[in-house]
Symmetry: C2
Subunit: 469 residues, 2 copies
Amino acid sequence: MHTTNRPQQARPGRPASSHEDTTFDLAPEFVQDIRAALDDPDRATEAREQVQGLHYADAADLIERLDEDRRAVLLSLLKGGFNPEILPELDDDVRETVLDAFGYADYAALVAELDSDDAVYLVDHLDETERAAVLERLPETDRTVIEQGLSYADDSAGRLMQRELVAVPSYWTVGDAIDWLRGASGLPEEFTELFVVDPRHRPLGLVRLSALLRARRQDRLEALMDTGLEPVDVGMDQEEIALLFRRRDLLSAPVTDRAGRLVGRITIDDVVDVIDEEAEDDMLRLAGLSETGTYADAFATARTRILWLTVNLGTAMLVSSVIGLFEATLEKLVALAVLMPMVSSLGGNAGTQTLTAAVRGLATRDLSADNAWRQTGKELMVGLMNGVVLAVLAGAAAWLWYSDLPLAGVVATAMLLNMIVAALVGMGVPLALERFGVDPAVASSVFVTMMTDMLGFLAVLGLATLFLL
Amino acid sequence: MHTTNRPQQARPGRPASSHEDTTFDLAPEFVQDIRAALDDPDRATEAREQVQGLHYADAADLIERLDEDRRAVLLSLLKGGFNPEILPELDDDVRETVLDAFGYADYAALVAELDSDDAVYLVDHLDETERAAVLERLPETDRTVIEQGLSYADDSAGRLMQRELVAVPSYWTVGDAIDWLRGASGLPEEFTELFVVDPRHRPLGLVRLSALLRARRQDRLEALMDTGLEPVDVGMDQEEIALLFRRRDLLSAPVTDRAGRLVGRITIDDVVDVIDEEAEDDMLRLAGLSETGTYADAFATARTRILWLTVNLGTAMLVSSVIGLFEATLEKLVALAVLMPMVSSLGGNAGTQTLTAAVRGLATRDLSADNAWRQTGKELMVGLMNGVVLAVLAGAAAWLWYSDLPLAGVVATAMLLNMIVAALVGMGVPLALERFGVDPAVASSVFVTMMTDMLGFLAVLGLATLFLL
């Protein structure tokens, strides 16, 4: 959530480069040394200088890795000389401690130094009281820009975009543009293209700087510009934006308001953060985790996880109640209690495989309404083929174990049935959730494993009741 | 795996834009219409023109979505006018059918038209026979470049980099550079920076085009350049490169050979593909899937999954054998067979939560040797807290069900024990795999759920044997 790369000061004697294969990561010995320096009041100045010499991303990393006491010492040392670029790089929980340490006024001063998209991001991540307190302490112009940014929907182009861009009229020549660029003030620190706009400030195309540089001074911008623009509506969802950038291999895109006027630009480095976030979200949601929160404390982490686990307990009870229906069968044939987890475990794993492929396919649009039937048919074939293999193996195991051929037949049949059900629910649950507008990664795995568990036990115990007793 | 965005032709009457919230995705009606046109020999020319009017990413998407027969019809229509940019966008399995349809000579001609990184990528994804056949049919210069690219390790900077870049000597002025850029031939189609090199072609810094444009003609490049370069060694792993780009918010980085000479550049759009791939890999590997392969046929898909499922069957048998040890206990108290899956299921889910957080933490470097003990301690606390909550709930359920307080006590104690074990193995397995240089996502979940299942059953049945019989 920060702007393009900016010129970096040389970092003499970079302490971070001692690790052999990572020249940019913090070396554990360096972190240890900083810890020692923070414990020793005599080395305070040295510690401050060391940390101020770091790249902002490394400084953020270091702050995250310190325990609370040393973090407080470091923050008090850095007060007054804190690089605001560090803030967007910090984990939410750690950033909260910076706010606590610095107070509203100093925090607002840091926010004011950042580009508009970063400033909006930081203010957005405060709770209501804090947000009001920080906004109140911002200069009026910054406050207006941030409030406008916050008025756009969460995860929309309006939140993601930078207002800083270079727009020029289409009747200009290359010479006009170059002369103006040399003299103009208030341009963004970095840009890779000029946006060409009509008199109503609607984007007509963009001229890449590499094309501008190679043209003659008298060439008209209109002749150079790429008109294959993909204008992004200010309300477009960030997931859509990420897909657009990837599909079109874009480096940047203009953002337009409802009237089609150019109001900002989105650059690929911000999109990289979105891509990361979306992939991470899917992966974590599949496991029932709402956030990473590596730096959240144990109590907060436990609280975010217990809800999912309680839902799981409910589904596990449903599964147990299925087994409970067959207590009479189990009493007569206790071998079933030994064998049935084999069937349910395999069903759960096969279902999770299908589910994960489906969730990923939906995210990348490889799976859509268009080919959902064909892909489901394929998954059924896969379930059938692997089901046959596993049924033979599991049946053979049951036979070797108990020398009971009918029992082995029940286990094998139940395994085959469960693999087919696993394919159906592994595809059906995420497709149904997507259809109803729910994120298919959320809660899918709990439903899929519940169904494969229930069916697994039901098949083993039901078939046994029918054919073995 | 392709170069930066390039000027796109205007696409009149873009058929892709009918879908309401996605202006860049293929509309299902458009895909349907193309299918109909391909079935009708009279509409062949129309179909060809429609597809040729698409952006290469959309054309690739369309080709993927067609069934085999229509795909063959379309490929034969496109032969001779096939946009080579489509190839890197295709799924491996689908690209294989393009090679089959076009033959080696035509395929080689398409490869020769691409930028070096794309060409290397395509040749790399052929099997040995095909690779030899395609290389043989390439012009000598292309072949040499590709063979050199292939000589770098898989997933290294050498594979990822483009050879096309702009390098200038440090004694030049801005005017020198602009005059040379206007006249030079053979420059890359797009670039966002000049690399400044010393007489031995070692990179000294880079000058962003936005800085170049805003400087005066007489300014020296040396004064403008950003020396905070992060030169990437040609052997650096792509995962490291992705971390470097994200941590440093880079748009591009120079690649140097062992002697420190500039041999190529890596741009952020290629890194985006790497980031995607790494996140996808972790997610899929956690579920025991080796590849997406949405377009692989059912048999190939079944084959890639059966190995993992067979491993799972082995672990499930181990789990069953734990239950088998307690057949005498089960015979006396069949209620245990009903209740024990509840304990093992919750342990499995809690273990997967911890595991997923750990795998993600290792990938983003939030979890490292540095804080592994502290994070493990935190997970233990989380397991303990959630274990107490779940033990009370599960114990209460068991008591309501069977009105047997000692039985409820056994279930509750087993639940608490299993939640603590889930935290330990959820952290321990990925950390141990990472320590031994194995991808922590691979095979982790099968071990974690095996251990929580075994411990869950062992705890319920063992405690019951000790205290209830």
